[in-house]
């Protein structure tokens, strides 16, 4: 793996060289008459769900949302609930590891040196994840190419890199670290804007100082500083030109001082959602992932009055109604985050298009397990909210025992990527699910 160092990144996104391309990219995007945009966000929350409080009883278009999914009520006709999908990938690694790292990849982990509580040690996934597959497909076409392709966001993801904390992969052995710090996300998305603002703010003082010093110098020496002043003036002009070409949405103003710790989760989640919506409206990317903690995540949701760690609670038996109630609350909170993102998108008109941004964006909320205390890879929750992929939304489907690779095939195809298999080929034999 060739790690990009901070300096490299700065070099790539640096001021002078990248000043104009960024702007050019934007203006060309605005002017472009493209096919309707499609976007997708993969949302992860850990440790399984509480089935009786999650799955609707009914199948089809008429269904009642259970407690956990209630926050999605305003979007029920845009919601597709898929029960009965299983992560059938086997091999090295414990249930959580495979649940996490085989979730978006649909393929085995390499044998490795990371040991879980049971099973054999394992390493990274041996293939790319579906979000990266779609992003690469979109980036390969100038009509759908965006500046970043995809962004990977996190909320309170532990500062460790292992198969429990990574779910998106650029390829075999290439996990992508989500960014949990909203300010770092901002830096990535709008660093150049800020750099330009900072630079613009000092150029005037700089020219004054150049003039003051020039006055003290001999005729011959003055020439150099006067030449320097012309470069500063030219840069001012360039920056003014860049600033005239506005972003569709200005960079968001973020509340200061939000940390990446457990207590900051609600605020960090809100900021990440804000940044994500903003990035979409500026068409900086069309694929995103949003990862809440990690597999075996131990969020302590004190703001809900829950002091225990999420993973510990998820091991408690079904009969422990106190714990189950807490798990319902925790999952409902996660659902609220999904709903919050949906409502932000629903409230934003599609730039250069019709309807709201939610009409062109599909949120796909999932989990590494079906149920925490059984570590089951069956009935993993897959809840889709939004539109744009041509799926028949507003349904509750029961598919029973279907490999989840087939859902990834459906999504690839919905984006026009007609791949025959994704992940482990033998799990794709029946082809994509018919969701339209």
């Amino acid at each position: 793996m060739n790690l990009t160092t901070r300096r490299r990144f700065l070099g790539d996104a640096g001021l002078s060289a990248a000043l104009l391309p960024f702007v050019t990219g934007l203006s060309s995007l605005q002017a472009r008459s493209t096919p309707v945009k499609q976007r997708i966000v993969f949302i992860f929350t850990p440790n399984g769900i509480v089935p009786p409080d999650f799955w609707p009883e009914e199948t089809g278009a008429k269904f009642t949302l259970k407690r956990i999914l209630e926050p999605l009520a305003p979007f029920q006709e845009k919601t597709l609930i898929l029960q009965g999908l299983s992560n059938r990938v086997r091999g090295d690694g414990d249930g959580h590891m495979r649940g996490m790292s085989c979730l978006l990849t649909g393929i085995e982990l390499f044998p490795g040196n990371i040991q879980g509580g049971s099973d054999t040690p394992a390493g990274w996934a041996s293939g790319p994840s579906i979000d990266q597959e779609v992003a690469q497909f979109l980036q390969s076409n100038s009509q759908t190419r965006t500046r970043f392709g995809s962004i990977e966001l996190g909320v309170a993801v532990p500062n460790k890199a292992d198969p429990w904390t990574r779910w998106t992969y650029a390829g075999p052995n290439q996990p992508i670290a989500p960014i949990s710090d909203p300010y770092a996300v901002f830096e990535r998305l709008y660093g150049q804007v800020k750099d330009r603002e900072n630079l613009s703010s000092i150029l005037d003082s700089l020219r004054q100082d150049l003039r003051r010093l020039s006055g003290k110098l001999s005729r011959e020496d003055k020439v150099l500083l006067e030449q320097h002043a012309t470069f500063v003036r030219a840069m001012e002009g360039d920056l003014a030109e860049v600033n005239r070409q506005k972003l569709h949405q200005p960079a968001p103003r973020l509340e200061a001082g939000v940390g990446t710790d457990n207590e900051s989760m609600p605020k960090a989640s809100a900021l990440q959602i804000e940044l994500l919506v903003n990035a979409f409206s500026n068409d900086l990317c069309r694929v995103a992932s949003l990862q809440y903690t990690s597999s075996v995540g131990q969020a302590r949701m004190r703001w809900l009055g829950i002091d225990e760690g999420h993973h510990s609670l998820s091991h408690d038996p079904d009969l422990n109604t106190g714990s189950q109630e807490k798990l319902v609350k925790i999952n409902r909170w996660f659902c609220e985050q999904v709903a919050s993102l949906a409502s932000r998108l629903a409230a934003t008109p599609e730039p250069g298009g019709t309807g709201s941004m939610l009409d062109h964006t599909t949120l796909l909320w999932t989990n590494e397990l079906g149920k925490g205390n059984s570590h089951s890879h069956d009935n993993i929750p897959f809840v889709l909210v939004g539109g744009g992929l041509g799926f028949n939304m507003g349904q509750s489907l029961k598919l029973s025992g279907t490999p989840h690779n087939r859902l990834w095939l459906s999504i690839a195809h919905a984006f026009g990527h007609q791949t025959k298999t994704f992940g482990k080929p033998s799990l794709c034999e029946a082809g994509p699910l018919s969701l339209s």
Partner: protein, 799 residues
């Protein structure tokens, strides 16, 4: 300098062509009679204006359509007189009389023809210059480093290694063994690394510093089937006490991350980073094995222009140094048209690079602000935190500008950057951006022009000392001396210069000079024909480079520091690989050892195989490249650029000839011989060395003839039988010394010597001789003169 690039193609251009018609054929047989000629009726200047200027221009600059080459050269007045008398004016049948020829030769020699005259004409004032790229990077490193402790590792030899027994996820359960490891190249196979450690799971952490030999882009390569992470030039993150990778503590970004293994297959991680030479950087390598069948780990690097190699023990130190901020932004190359880097011109690209580098630096500083501005977590009041940031900013600018920040500028900047509504970190960023793009930082003398002020004068001296010896900012000791008025007399300045000379940054700068002087920084590919020279591979070339570096360091940093030793030494440094290749007495181990040789076979740098190979063709030696290098670089003589390109094509010659025969044939025309009469004998004297610098007594199955007659600049004819004769001549030659002094001067001060008075080089030469040609003393002398130069002396001889 002839580019080594040509060597790859086995063809070269230059040095074989016709020379300007005025240049006299030095070895012409008709020797001019030394009888005193009559005095000319006209002055030399008048003769020149009346008879010569119509073709050669007012100042010898040439006239288009007539004779458009500039009259520059290094022939003596005698030679010029003879030539003019025989051939000039070309458009008249009546040639100049001997007295007229002498008068006009004397005039043009002094007015514009000779190197001295040209030196006087090129620049006679201290120019306002910007920081060179090297100075920019070094200054930023020291500027940022001056906040907080600056610690450089001194010792070498390896890294501290700590071996742990692990237990499942607990990678460092128990420390079993602590020792020093010289290199990181381990293959534990399926076994244990030490007693009392189990074979199936263990962990090792290496810590210390990495010493980087020269400035440039480095690559690092980590290879293992297990788990490993490499951290380079990073702090320990706040809250992390030991960088234990099994903890949840916040960690700095690793340079290479191979923590998770993959099927027990060996994996490689490669990363690159820019480093400043001569400095040390903190390094940590963390490793663990968990149930993979085998365990191994290798850490390699690739120096700028070098091959991949295991990082040698000499590059490691068990001491931990502090982080150094290295600007990675690429800059357009500095002007080197005068043979040395100088900041006399600017361009839009340069201005953009500076802005980008300033942004990069500000970014990095803000990310480490609590450390650099000393804002511990215990300071919680936002007002106090901002106050500390402001103090930091003001100090930062004072140090960057090399003089105190004026109250008005401070107030102005505070108002403009720490305005309400933006967060204080952004304010700091703006302040830093202003500071690092300010002319006060970029043009060190611009803000110190007011010489009337004593403090300013001393601060200027301090600034110049920093630039001369370190290419960097003055340190705290210098600034203190300036403030207390103890940086005024030349004795006081010399004391400081001598102190500064002991700093690694002075070594780094001098090393940079020798790389430039000895054409080691050209970055060429020294590859030779693998059939003809098996074993002359990139690793061997890297060894050769190191060998020359060590030789120069040995001579220069010995107490005698004798310039002549560079030429006359009867030893060089070889490691095992080089000793075997060059057939020297055997050397054990990887490290370099001093090996002496028969004095008549080799002599100092002249016969160092790195230079002999550099100045050779792909398959054969090149007396012309060697001769040009010696003429210009070693003997300090002037050669005009060749007026036309002629390729050396080996297959055009009789295949039974020696190289000497071929070159003699190729350059035989009198017009070629104008320069080649000087070049060839010097090159022939090294014909006992093949294209890779190995000693030989046969070339193309014929005995080597290395004897030649060389005519020195003063007209003396010297018989060169072997390299030592040449070395002895060079060591005694005033021109050679003057050439060395001039180049060191330019490299140190980045200005033309003539700006310091027309006799500066002669004066320095006198001092140099008095000091037994001590290079360190010379450098100090140049530095002192540069630091105290106040009013530019106008040259009296300017045309």
């Amino acid at each position: 300098m002839v580019s080594v690039f040509h060597l790859i193609t086995n063809r070269t251009t230059g040095w074989l062509g016709l020379l300007g018609a005025l240049l006299f054929v030095a070895c012409s047989p008709d020797r001019y009679s030394k009888s005193t000629p009559r005095i000319s009726a006209r002055s030399g200047e008048l003769i020149y204006r009346q008879d010569c200027a119509r073709c050669h221009g007012d100042h010898g600059q040439g006239v288009a359509g007539k004779y458009d080459e500039t009259l520059h050269g290094e022939q003596s007045v005698d030679s010029l007189t003879r030539y003019i008398h025989r051939t000039m004016p070309e458009d008249r049948r009546q040639k100049a009389s001997e007295p007229d020829a002498l008068a006009v030769a004397q005039y043009l020699h002094a007015a514009f023809y000779s190197p001295q005259a040209r030196l006087r004409a090129t620049s006679s004032r201290l120019e306002l210059v910007r920081l060179t790229n090297r100075q920019f990077r070094e200054s930023i490193a020291d500027l940022v480093g001056s906040f907080g402790p600056m610690q450089q590792a001194k010792t070498g030899g390896g890294l501290v290694a700590e071996y742990f027994q692990s237990d499942g996820m607990n990678k460092k359960k128990k420390s079993i063994l602590k020792r020093q490891d010289s290199v990181v190249d381990f293959d534990f196979k399926n076994g244990s690394p030490a007693e009392d450690i189990s074979a199936d799971q263990f962990s090792i952490a290496w810590t210390g510093s990495l010493r980087v030999p020269e400035t440039g882009e480095y690559q690092f390569r980590l290879t293992t089937p297990n788990g490993a992470r490499l951290y380079l030039n990073t702090d320990l993150a706040a809250g992390d006490s030991n960088r234990r990778d099994d903890s949840d503590a916040k960690r700095e970004q690793s340079l290479i991350d191979l923590w998770v293994s993959s099927g027990g297959v060996s994996r490689q991680g490669i990363a690159q980073a820019f480093f400043l030479g001569g400095r040390t950087y903190p390094i940590r390598l963390d490793f663990f094995k968990f149930k993979e069948k085998t365990a191994s780990l290798r850490l390699e690097w690739k120096l700028p222009d070098g091959p991949w190699s295991i990082i040698p023990a000499a590059a490691f130190s068990p001491e931990i140094s502090t982080v150094t901020l290295v600007v990675g932004t690429a800059f357009p190359a500095d002007d080197r048209s005068h043979g040395y880097e100088r900041g006399s011109s600017i361009s839009k690209e340069w201005h953009q690079a500076v802005t980008k580098a300033a942004t990069e630096t500000a970014e990095s500083i803000v990310s480490r602000l609590t450390r650099l501005a000393d804002i511990p977590a215990s300071v919680t009041n936002p007002v106090d935190r901002v106050a500390r940031m402001q103090t930091f900013c003001a100090n930062f600018s004072s140090r960057a500008f090399r003089h105190p920040l004026s109250p008005s500028l401070r107030t102005n900047l505070m108002g403009r950057t720490f305005e309400s509504g933006i967060d204080p970190e952004a304010s700091v960023k703006r302040w830093l951006l202003f500071t690092l793009t300010s002319p006060r930082f970029l043009y060190p003398e611009a803000a110190l022009v007011d010489w009337s002020d004593d403090l300013n004068k001393s601060l200027q001296t301090a600034s110049r000392l920093g630039l001369a010896l370190w290419d960097s900012l003055p340190d705290a000791t210098l600034l203190e001396a300036a403030k207390t008025g103890t940086l005024v007399t030349s004795e006081q300045v010399r004391v400081q210069a001598e102190r500064m000379l002991q700093d690694p940054r002075a070594r780094s700068k001098l090393k940079d000079f020798f790389h430039h002087w000895l054409a080691m920084s050209e970055g060429g590919d020294l590859a030779k024909d693998p059939q003809a020279y098996p074993g002359f591979d990139p690793l061997l070339v890297a060894d050769l480079r190191e060998s020359l570096d060590q030789f120069v360091e040995e001579v220069v940093w010995s107490p005698k520091s004798d310039f002549r030793e560079l030429l006359l030494a009867d030893y060089l440094f070889l490691n095992r690989r080089l000793a075997a290749f060059y057939g020297a007495q055997s050397v054990e181990g990887e490290s370099f050892q001093r090996v002496t040789f028969e004095p008549e076979k080799r002599a100092g740098i002249l016969t160092h195989p790195f230079l002999l190979s550099t100045f050779s063709y792909h398959k054969s030696s090149s007396p012309i490249h060697r001769g040009v290098f010696i003429t210009r670089t070693i003997l300090g003589r002037f050669l005009k650029p060749p007026p036309m390109a002629i390729e050396f094509m080996d297959d055009r010659f009789d295949p039974t000839w020696t190289m000497r025969q071929k070159v003699t044939e190729l350059t035989g025309k009198p017009t070629c011989m104008a320069c080649h009469a000087t070049i060839n004998p010097l090159g022939f004297s090294l014909e006992q060395f093949d294209a890779v610098g190995r000693f030989r007594d046969r070339d193309n199955a014929k005995p080597v003839d290395a004897q030649s007659e060389y005519t020195a600049a003063d007209g003396r004819v010297i018989t060169l039988k072997n390299p030592r004769d040449l070395a002895v001549h060079a060591a005694q030659s005033r021109d050679a010394r003057m050439g060395f002094i001039r180049q060191l001067f330019q490299h140190t001060l980045h200005q033309s010597p003539s700006a310091y008075g027309s006799n500066i080089l002669q004066e320095l030469d006198a001092d140099f001789l008095k000091a037994d040609c001590n290079i360190q003393t010379l450098l100090v002398e140049i530095t002192v003169r540069g630091a105290l130069q106040r009013v530019p002396k106008k040259s009296m001889n300017q045309p």
